[in-house]
Amino acid sequence: MSISFTPSAYYRPDSLREAVALLSNLRGKARLIAGGTDLLVMKPSGVDALIDVGVLNLNYIKKKEGTICIGAATTVDLVENSPLLAGWPYQVLPEAAKSMATPTIRNMATIGGNVCNGSPAADLCLALMALDASVSLVAPKGGRTLPLKDFHVGVNRTVLAEDELLAEVLIPKSAGGASFLKLRRHQTAVDIAVVNVSTRLNCVNGRCVDARIVLGAVAEKQICAQKAQGLLLNQIVDPGVIQKAAEQAAEEARPIDDIRASASYRKRMVAVLVRRSLELSAGRCRA
């Protein structure tokens, strides 16, 4: 274990109010801990205190007036198996969850951790963005809710203030078919995506009335391919339209070269994955 990761205090608040008061008092020197599968691997330096979210009662998936509410400390294995998420388009979230890491890690990792860690390759974030999810944040002065697409500002960076915590992920009533696809190297199941995409299509009589194309691991955060979405709107969703949208999505990707793949390979794979994902979404829309 890194010698720099030696926080000297550990808190286990049993209310959100107490948790954010602690964050506020500790002024950026505290880190929240949930599943630990990112924090205890990263072991960041300069952490004086840990705040365990384990007894804040944030482990739930429930439905409130058509909105699906998922507590931030809900583990990924529960997301995989929730009956509230069975059926399209919501099932795209379990689909993404099942592709994440390994069953053992999914028993520990939480949806809030996946969102707050802010990896551009975070699988759950893609599916959540395809479902137009928003996040509910709590601070000592009160709460705010914002669209997930506005939550990340860069690699591992979010809009969270130092005294603010993510309490809940909200999925509005949604329609259509959706899909999540991920390309990764197969040497090890724990590796993150080279490219991942999630799409949602809602069609009426074959004509697209709503489209989402979300791209992962090809920019500093998950991005919506806006122009590609525009190419689908009001069109009859046929193979030609899908191909054009997929190529446009690749244009909107702005990947980098890294140890997993080159930027040019990633761009080409965006086109392939988006095409396949749109085909699946269209099929599930009809189903």
Partner: protein, 161 residues
Amino acid sequence: MTEIPIRICVNGEWRDLTVKPYERLVDSLRERLGMTGTKVGCGEGECGACTVNIDGKAVLSCLTLAAQADGKQIKTIEGLRKGAELHPIQKAFVEEGAAQCGFCTPGMIMTAEAMLGQDPNPSEENVRKTLANNLCRCTGYDKPVKAILKAARELRGANHE
């Protein structure tokens, strides 16, 4: 430095410990309780040698803080056998030759124990998927997979009696 008092139930026995804020559960088990069956491999959640079961689920004790386990039921490899008799999964590992150097074995067996608790009749594919977090550099995976399927049959039979 705050020392944190915790109470954890390890293999059916409640234990009171005082731990550091950043102390990993695997270190409490090995160094404070002398239970060295649980191994430390990579320390980063990749190899699964440190797998234990908490409240019936397989988790990595190198990525779990001891303080997070406060109040929880923990099962380790030491808790499986009954007296002198090995657990059916342990027995099947011996019979199938599923251990070579043995370092990954406790983690594999604890992963299997949690899996069979949830799914007494897993397909071979599911066994392989569930073992994705347990790396073996000796025998590979065929023998452990065979052993787990054999133990599953044995356990199902025992439950029918």
